[in-house]
């Protein structure tokens, strides 16, 4: 019995030593440490992890790669998606030309990225809040922004909700829950996180678009980290289109792209073929369901290609070969790809296409002609909305300008306002 007792004692001792050994050897107590100790000194490299794969549903010719991936979208929605992608292309073409003719001062096309706009927009509800960067006109179009509203903003005329204060393409709509665009890159990211925090008690989510260039801004880091630590239902939607103006992705980042950053922030991440509208839809849908249910962020990196120039102030032929652009245009263009898919299902044909193009052309030209005729907002509006109520010093400046114009008005474009 004595022996038995002492054995048991020894056993207990060794058990507790094992416990202690385990605690100190495999479970570091450092605050926040979620790993083990090792005696192997080696680098963790980009290649230590497999790169995140690209989710897709359609092949380059618009063929369904896996018959079980047939989208559960109604024909009506599928057709709306396609129509909006096409109308966006037509609007871009005409507004780009109108800038070249000197009718509007600036424009940015979305060529090649339509699927990222429309696929994500279709997966959200209208009361989900959108923070855009500047190249997401398709999202706004899908939500119901009219051609006239686009044109009015580009002209900065009396019907522009932004009162002519911003450059073209800085759209915004309270009714469509689309926060007005600002030019600084990346600033929208932490703001989207704050809004998502404020909406935590609802079923709404926030989606925030940005480019792979913006992801280099400090605001992107701030946003990823805040969203994860504060548990915010926000979808970070990166349109990785290959270029930030002229800077190619090779000069923008290392590692596994933008998606590769997600898991290190503790953010559930998806990488998707941004030229496949159905894949973008599925990814955004999954992200929305997760963000809304779990009150956590999701990062989506949509890989795409900016077929157009950065803006009307840019000529991309000076930094990338024309063949590269035509290759994407001819061999993996999202709208064409989606059209092939719809045709394969018998939902679309050449006749429909011609009708749609004619209608879109007519619509945008009419909007353009209307928008051009409208007056600008009264020049005195320049002084409004700095604050909710105009302070005295701004009022004085406004009055001084009124007096000045009484004498010198003929030198100012008063008649257009």
């Amino acid at each position: 019995m004595g022996l038995n007792r002492s054995l048991r004692f020894a056993f207990n001792i060794s058990k507790s030593w094992i416990q202690i050994y385990k605690t100190y050897s495999t479970c570091p107590k450092f605050p926040g440490a979620k790993t083990t100790f090792t005696n192997q000194l080696q680098f963790t490299e980009t290649s230590s992890y497999a790169p995140i794969p690209i989710f897709r549903i359609l092949g380059p010719k618009g063929e369904l790669l896996n018959s079980s991936d047939e989208p559960k979208l109604s024909e009506e929605i599928l057709l709306k998606m396609y129509k909006d992608m096409t109308v966006l292309n037509v609007m871009d073409k005409i507004l780009y030309e109108s800038q070249r003719q000197g009718r509007i001062s600036f424009y940015m096309t979305s060529y090649g990225e339509e699927a990222t706009h429309i696929g994500s927009a279709a997966a959200l509800d209208l009361d989900d809040l959108v923070y855009g960067q500047y190249r997401e006109a398709g999202v706004l179009m899908y939500r119901g922004f009219t051609l006239q509203q686009f044109v009015d903003q580009c002209y900065g005329n009396i019907d522009d909700k932004g009162r002519g204060r911003q450059m073209p393409v800085h759209y915004g709509s309270k009714d469509l829950n689309y926060v007005t665009i600002s030019s600084p890159l990346g600033t929208q990211l932490p703001q989207a996180v704050g809004s998502a925090y404020a909406l935590k008690d609802t079923n709404r989510v926030v989606i925030c678009y940005f480019g792979e260039g913006s992801a280099s801004e400090g605001d992107a880091h701030a946003a990823f980290n805040f969203s994860a630590t504060l548990g915010c239902p926000v979808i970070f939607f990166c349109r990785n289109n290959g270029y930030a103006i002229s800077t190619p992705v090779e000069e923008q980042y290392r590692g596994d792209g933008i998606a590769g950053k997600g898991p290190s922030y503790g953010i559930n991440t998806l990488r998707v073929d941004g030229n496949d509208v159905l894949a973008v839809y599925e990814a955004t849908k999954l992200a929305k369901d997760f963000a809304s249910k779990e009150k956590k962020p999701v990062l989506i990196e949509a890989l795409t290609y900016r077929v157009g120039d950065h803006s009307t102030s840019d000529d991309s032929s000076s930094y990338r070969p024309k063949e590269e652009v035509s290759d994407w245009l001819n061999n993996d263009y999202p709208t064409k790809k989606f059209r092939h898919y719809l045709e394969s299902r018998g939902l679309w044909n050449e006749e429909h296409e011609e009708q749609l193009l004619a209608q879109a052309n007519k619509g945008i030209l009419a909007a353009l002609s209307n928008g051009e005729k409208k007056k600008k907002p009264k020049w005195t509006e320049m002084y409004e909305d700095v604050y909710k109520f105009m302070p005295l010093h701004i009022k004085k400046q406004q009055d001084a300008m009124k007096d000045h114009l009484k004498k010198y008005g003929k030198y100012y474009p008063i008649d257009s306002f």
Binding site: G162, S195, H221, F226, V386
Partner: protein
């Protein structure tokens, strides 16, 4: 910000009197460039008052907001445990971690987050731990918060955002715990900028800022958090933004300041009265943007002599704006040029603080020059 852990440690040690860097005694000695005088503000309510220092008055204001506004949230670095200056003490315990919470250490994130929260309907109250560290958020403040309403044609605004941040000399803060960056923000249409001179003012202005429909920046002179004690009304009250306070009436010279400097100027006025039989009018500007031109110009037209004093450097300091406006509005009433007594055009130096600041002796000398001009 690499130095942020240092600064937290540094100031909480001082606050908790653990005396690792400086003892309370040294703190008092170094920060004795002014004598604090309590407020006799008559505009506040007649209800119960209790003795509070400035951090307690701010804490009290925040408590009132959290109690009365279910949408109010308070966030920033270390605010959860009460903040390095104790302004958010016990608020997390009382209102929960979802309403009073720490953020990661990232100023641009704090302000960006605050803007977004305000856009979506929260009453967002952000703390930047030191005004010296607000610059990573400069873009969010200047390009975003300030322009939100304007650029959207009033579709969206972040008027429900208020930013609190400690500023100014403290006796031992050196380059990065002492700055007064009001002039940077005064150059930004769309923001409102206020500086309280004591507990009553801090409480009333903070509640005013939080309920103001535009984004507000409240710069709290950190040396007053403990040094300034007053009988503060316990009830909810607001003080108006954009209105200067005449603290001492006088006819011979106008002395203008804000924050801690107001107390320096009050001392100068006393010396002028006692030793030189001169009555100085002391004005606390209170709001830097939009500022009370009317009160200032009325006073200067009466006295004909004016001195503006601030801790921030002279070149492009807010004193320059005041001087320009005065000469424009009071040119024929001036008996002497507008004088500025300010911090030197150097970074804020640690051990040289007594020589850097616009002390009462520098202000007095300049005031006497104006009177003899």
């Amino acid at each position: 910000m690499a130095s942020s852990r240092l600064r937290t440690q540094f100031f909480s040690d001082v606050i908790f009197n653990r005396g690792i860097f400086l003892s309370e005694v040294q703190l008092r000695r170094y920060s004795s460039h002014f004598v604090y005088t309590a407020d006799s503000e008559k505009t506040t309510s007649n209800g119960t008052k209790s003795k509070m220092n400035m951090f307690q008055a701010i804490n009290n204001a925040l408590d009132i907001i959290l109690k009365s506004d279910s949408k109010a949230i308070i966030f920033g670095e270390d605010v959860g445990f009460g903040g390095v200056f104790r302004c958010t003490l016990d608020l997390q315990k009382r209102y929960g971690k979802h309403r009073v919470f720490n953020t990661p250490l990232c100023e641009q994130g704090i302000i960006g987050f605050g803007i977004g929260a305000a856009v979506a309907g929260s009453t967002a109250i952000a703390e930047i731990q030191f005004a010296d560290y607000i610059f990573p958020a400069f873009d969010q403040l200047v390009n975003e918060a300030a322009k939100y309403r304007y650029r959207s044609g009033n579709l969206f605004d972040c008027g429900k955002l208020t930013i609190r941040t400690p500023c100014g000399a403290v006796g031992h803060g050196g380059l990065y715990h002492s700055q007064s960056p009001e002039a940077y923000f005064a150059h930004t249409p769309g923001l409102k900028v206020v500086v309280p001179r004591g507990p009553i003012k801090a409480k009333g202005l903070l509640l005013g800022c939080i309920r103001d429909p535009d984004p507000c920046l409240i710069l709290e002179p950190k040396v007053l958090y403990r040094a300034a004690v007053e009988q503060v009304p316990e009830a909810d009250f607001q003080l108006p933004l954009g209105k200067a306070d005449i603290l001492i009436e006088g006819t011979d010279i106008t002395l203008i300041g804000w924050g801690t400097q107001v107390h320096v100027l009050k001392e100068v006025a006393t010396v002028l009265k006692d030793s030189y039989k001169v009555t100085a009018e002391v004005i606390d500007l209170v709001t830097i943007l939009p500022w009370d031109v009317t009160t200032i110009c009325k006073s200067v037209c009466k006295t004909g002599r004016v001195l503006v004093a601030h801790e921030a450097p002279m070149t492009s300091g807010f004193g320059a704006e005041i001087a320009a406006t005065i000469q424009e509005n009071c040119f024929l009433n001036l008996h002497a040029p507008v004088a500025r007594v300010t911090g030197a055009d150097t970074p804020f130096p640690c051990i040289f603080e007594p020589f850097y600041l616009p002390t009462k002796w520098r202000c007095l000398e300049e005031a006497l020059k104006l009177l003899d001009y």
